[in-house]
């Protein structure tokens, strides 16, 4: 693992970045900012697909940054509540695995999505 001072610095940097990214992410769900009338309209398939198409990279950055910040935060708490060499290794390894697995799922969400079809939406 990297030096803990670097990881703490990373926690601050990702935290500051997340304030901006999450504010943008939440703003995209405010209906009046997008000329819509309700919250649910902002999460309909065609709107979400357009968002993934236009801001896919930004959404991926949001996912990776939030995962880094979240997983490292949980790691810090777990390392604080218990001490031990095996425990430390177990927690650090689990943190890396959890990050990789969820980052892969997030990447698939953006890269593997197909455009919504009219038939599918009508039947849905």
């Amino acid at each position: 693992m990297a030096r803990s001072s670097y990881l703490q610095l990373m926690q601050y940097v990702t935290g500051a970045l997340l304030v901006l990214l999450v504010s943008w992410h939440l703003a995209t769900r405010i209906p009046w900012l997008r000329g819509m009338e309700s919250f649910v309209e902002t999460i309909l398939p065609e709107v979400v697909y357009r968002e993934i198409e236009s801001f896919g990279l930004l959404l991926l950055l949001l996912a990776y940054t939030s995962l880094l910040h979240g997983v490292n935060g949980l790691r810090i708490i777990l390392l604080e509540i218990h001490h031990g060499e095996i425990w430390d290794r177990l927690v650090n390894l689990s943190a890396v695995i959890v990050f990789i697995v969820f980052a892969a799922i997030a990447t698939h969400s953006v890269l593997g999505v197909e455009p919504p079809t009219i038939e599918g939406l009508i039947s849905g």
Binding site: Y12, G15, A16, L18, V19, V22, S23, L26, R29, I30, P31, E37, S38, F39, V40, I43, L44, P45, V48, Y49, A63, S66, L67, G70, V71, G73, L74, I77, I81, H82, H83, G84, I86, W87, V98, F102, I105, A106, H108, S109, V110, L111, G112, V113, E114, P116, T117, G120, L121, S123, G124
Partner: protein, 158 residues
Amino acid sequence: MGKSVRDLVKYLDLRPGWRAFIDPFILKLWNNPERVAFHMHRITGVITAFFIFIHIITTNVPARAGWEAYLEEVRNLEAITPTSVLFYLAMGAVLFHGINGVRLILVEALAWGIGRPEKPKPPYIAPSLRGRQRALIHVTFALWIILWLALGYVMFLT
């Protein structure tokens, strides 16, 4: 065998200090908004982390199972349902963690509002419990409640 099991049990036993995270008699929150903010930052951080995991899995539905399955999820957020209430509670945790995070960056990383070093004189009150830092904590809580209510309006009343 017996020894190794005993060692494992001894190893898995959390150190006594862990109770300080949850025991209300040890937390000493009374008249100490900084402590309240610290513990709430931890609690909301854990909730937010698990929310991120769930959110990543649920937003994978269009790519994994198609948009029809995603529409089923959207229906759960259309009215006041257990899903939408849980979502709203998680949003509260995200908002508090974010707003308090900005305060922490200002105070811890940028040393904003800490003031100059001074000789300790009785009564010994930590800088985090008086002056600009205390006001900043109150602003954090006020802003959190206002934004959470606004989010509730957007989610349930539009």
